[in-house]
Symmetry: C2
Subunit: 203 residues, 2 copies
DNA sequence: CCACCTATCTAGACAGTGTCTAGATACTAG
DNA sequence: CTAGTATCTAGACACTGTCTAGATAGGTGG
């Protein structure tokens, strides 16, 4: 295998990438459990068993899609520098709104990234874990920063507080995208309420 | 059909009840997506198609199990009168611990009750909705009560605050039972931290 | 008491699914 | 050019949910 081109034109070309792309599209449009490896193969134009030369099984495909999601999300988060013009209390709310909105706009990918499908079985997928780690780490770092400037409770253990805040956002997101909170126009109001509970500065 | 006995001994007896019972057991032990109507039928000792005379399809079976869960949960909640000996701040924590522990001890049933499996598709199942309603209503009532006694933020809109607190508990519960928060011994600490964020009384 | 009706149950079939095996193909390195 | 290996295909197996048609048996009206 040449070292400059990872996968030169070979038989089909870069089947792995095309499978990932098509699968992501299918999941976005029809949901995770509507994804079938056979339909996927048919769509891409290869035999039913071809995907098995690029992914051990269906689960590994799903993990790869989640991984992709984590990497994109990390990039988004890094570029999210707090706007110095808005006061920190509003930043907290915006932070939550952004999180929940991401989930709402990418419900199936979000479920894949943070849902039971992948995490329930104790996975031995270093690549996935590595890609997911920054998301968790970022949440903790932001919490610490906001504790330092007095926006968040300085008495609280940072890890615990980080887990609670993430839990809150995750819970609201899941209740929304799973269809229990029906009216998604409430995101702003709910996050406003949530942020004001955690905020230590009187607004 | 006689009016005193809903379903007298008939062919098999009360197949519907036995199906529900066995299905619940299977779900508890092997998870929702391991439940197969055919295996279930085999276990109960009837043909594969027999269950279809009691449930329109698999989804209706799952709804019935969730419904059962909601009814049991309602009973538990009603009997949960706050212990007058503990201060109200501790009550809030206990409330959250109890909720998350319920989820942790009944992860698959919890997923069924509050997860995407059932709610994602917009259901037209009045019976299920009716059984679920008290849980939602109870959460709101408790929030209002605690606002009145000054434990929770009196400025906040009760419905929104109720949604946020439920979101927090739901989020923590899901992160735990879906395997993202690995160490379930942290429940106490996380809930303690969460409760102290919402509590207005200095502990 | 008997015939009928209808609730209940069964067997068979169909179209899906994930994944294993064996074999064909085509590129690549020696 | 040959051998090896990555890639792809076809076939098969054991599952799945659910539809159809037919059997059975309990309750009910005459």
């Amino acid at each position: 295998m040449s070292n400059n081109v990872k996968k030169s034109n070979y038989h089909h070309g870069d089947l792995r990438e095309q499978l990932l792309k098509a699968a992501t599209k299918m999941i976005r449009e029809n949901g995770i459990d509507q994804l079938s490896l056979r339909k996927l193969a048919g769509l891409v134009g290869v035999s039913r068993t071809a995907p098995y030369h690029h992914f051990k099984d269906k689960n590994e495909l799903l993990c790869a899609i989640a991984e992709q999601g984590f990497r994109e999300r990390s990039k988004t988060m890094e570029s999210q520098v707090g706007d110095a013009n808005t006061d920190s209390s509003a930043q907290l709310k915006e932070y939550m709104v952004e999180y929940v909105s991401f989930a709402q706009q990418n419900p199936e990918i979000y479920e894949l990234m943070f849902g039971r499908t992948i995490w329930k079985q104790q996975i031995d997928n270093k690549s996935l874990k590595d890609s997911a780690y920054p998301s968790f780490q970022h949440q903790l770092a932001v919490t610490k920063k906001w504790q330092e400037i007095g926006l968040l409770d300085q008495q609280a253990n940072s890890l615990r507080l980080s887990q609670v805040i993430w839990g809150t956002m995750h819970g609201i997101a899941k209740l929304l995208i799973d269809g229990i909170y029906k009216d998604s126009s409430q995101i702003e109001e709910i996050c406003e309420c949530a942020a004001s509970q955690f905020s230590q500065v009187t607004n």
